[in-house]
């Protein structure tokens, strides 16, 4: 168990180093950072001085080490576009993205599992058919289009819910203001959360359904039926538990993609999170911000993967307990 944990952590660190190298390369190969920092009227001498001062004349490995060292301390330099430290800007915007991702993640996972199990058990019911058909539409509908349609129906036509922003926020710590404690915060959250969660929800639901149908066909379920185990227990004890094992992995990855897909939702709803900043950073080739965001997302993915692996270990006895018997 310890050995596996160590191996996983080493893998995670390796992935992070690779991503860090890509981020670092952005600075090296994409445009001259000096050009981005000084004005048109700067002299050759100014540039050379700046270059020396920033350590851009050092050997590449030294520069990379310095980059990693800074990154570990949360130091990503100054955003070209906003002329502020990247870490500061991200810290300010991150709560909005995390709150949005959390709410839609919970929405997608709970509803996805409930609907997936329901459609697997009532395969031929009209409601299941309805859910399955609409889920195909859900998979084919681009996220931004869902957002636009929701805005059109609930903000423009019905005028029930706001179409942009976070509503009122309340500070809980120095750099975390939450929208989850105000009515207008929740009102503003509903449409973005649905938009962001819907795609993951449909994916998860279809996965749970397929997995559950697969499990219901297994020998151990057949044997449980042959022993007269109650239908309820077969469905929700024997089958569901086995269904949810592989779902954990996918659900973890989905949570990661939710943070990435937040870029789109944040653009549609003008949600003041990091995703919105990233789009602007791409438009303006704001390298420090791009590389910091890249590292941040990679970190989220790596951490989620690690947590999922550990969780799997806790839930699946086949991994936890070593084979102890050889007797016949």
């Amino acid at each position: 168990m310890i050995a596996m944990l160590v191996r996983r952590i080493i893998q995670a660190v390796l992935v992070m180093l690779v991503v860090a190298f890509i981020s670092f390369s952005l600075f090296q190969f994409v445009g001259d950072p000096i050009n981005n920092m000084v004005g048109q009227e700067a002299t050759q001498q100014d540039r050379a001085e700046l270059r020396e001062r920033l350590g851009l004349n050092d050997p590449i490995p030294v520069q990379f080490m310095r980059f990693v060292g800074n990154a570990v301390q949360g130091e990503f330099g100054i955003s070209y576009r906003m002329a502020r430290p990247v870490s500061e800007v991200i810290a300010e915007r991150l709560p909005a993205t995390l709150e949005l991702a959390l709410v839609s993640g919970v929405l997608a996972i709970t509803l996805g599992i409930v609907l997936g199990v329901y459609t697997a058990l009532r395969r031929d019911g009209w409601f299941s058919h309805f859910i399955m058909s609409s889920s195909l539409i859900g998979v084919s509908l681009p996220t931004f289009l869902i957002g636009i349609l929701l805005i059109y129906i609930f903000s423009v036509e019905l005028q029930w819910l706001p179409s942009f922003g976070r509503g009122d926020t309340v500070p809980i710590t120095d750099n975390w203001s939450t929208g989850l404690l105000t009515v207008s915060g929740w009102q503003s959250l509903i449409l973005p959360a649905i938009t962001l969660g819907l795609f993951q929800l449909t994916l998860l639901m279809r996965l749970v359904r397929a997995e559950m149908l697969e499990v219901l066909r297994t020998d151990y379920i057949k044997f449980a039926r042959a022993r007269g185990i109650r239908q309820r227990s077969i469905n929700f004890h024997h089958a569901l538990k086995n269904t949810l094992l592989p779902v954990i992995t996918i659900a973890g990855l989905q949570l990661g993609s939710i943070i990435a897909f937040a870029i789109i939702t944040e653009t549609v709803f003008q949600w003041p999170g990091v995703g919105l900043l990233f789009i602007n950073a791409i438009r303006f080739v704001d390298i420090p911000f791009m590389s910091a965001y890249l590292l941040l997302i990679a970190l989220v993915f790596v951490v989620i993967n690690l947590v999922v692996d550990l969780l799997y270990f806790v839930v699946d006895p086949r991994l936890r307990v070593t084979k102890s018997s050889s007797s016949r």
Binding site: V15, V18, L26, V30, G31, L136, I137, V139, S140, L141, P142, T143, F144, L145, I148, L149, I151, Y152, S155, V156, S163, L253, G256, S257, A260, F261, I263, I264, T267, V268, F278, I279, A281, I282, R283, V285, I287, M290, L294, I297, A298, F301, N305
Partner: protein
Amino acid sequence: MTKTTTSSQDPYQVEPWWQRILNSDLFYDFSRRPVVVLSAVMTLLIISASMLAPWIAPHTPFDPASLNLMDGFTPPMEPNAFTGNVYWLGTDSQGRDIFSAILYGARVSLLVGFAAVGFAAILGITLGLIAGYKGGWIDTVIMRIADVQLSFPAILIALLIFGITKSLIPRELQEQAAVYVLILSIGLSDWVQYARTVRSSTLAEKNKEYVQAARLFGVTWPRILLRHILPNVMGPVLVIGTIGLALAIILESTLSFLGVGVPATQPSLGTLIRVGNEYLFSGEWWITIFPGLTLLVLALSVNLLGDWLRDALNPRLR
């Protein structure tokens, strides 16, 4: 694949190709599913209408000379207050006919979609064949890259590649290059599926007798891959390609919607939706909703086709 297209009739009698298709199991299954038939019809309809756009579109929407600002914001099927002109699906702020704009927009979307799928497929198949056939460190390197890339969402990869590529291109050329950059980004974000599938089929295929026989005859390995293995792995590739087309179209429209895709001078469906989105609040819903519906129908139809193809070609699910 070959099994599904051969008919059960006299093998010596050569049938014309269309007869072979009509007699195949695949076509039989197809003809019995009204939803799939409808999807195919809608897909073909949108493809042909957009390809024939210059001939069937009532207006040329992106020729500034033909636009009349007086026609602006005409609602669908209603005569314009000033000019009395009627447009099926209304006009946008500059008096541009939405129907024509959709035809031209779908053209760009499909073009980028097909090109990106083609690019991704060629790249993925090539790498998959090599990884599967050669094995060793080439295999390890290719598949590690694939694994890492697969754990990140395609949209993120595409955005990143787009951002990097764009910054490498001089500003003057960016507008013309936008479409190619887009194809490159989407293609590069989507090759992994092909590579993985082709690699596993290649692994299974390469130890069969016919491949070993070819090797004994001294056939070179690129030729073995192209002539002997490739035809046998095309079935799954076709399925991934169809579903990939839907994904590519959605990805393209998303990037264009985010404002990092094709420029407004040569809009795709995504660009049209982004531009129209600004007018949603002032009540001119048709400018964004109609392109949006077109995109939905297109993506849904292609997805349904891909779904059906996957099930129909997978003997385990039949």
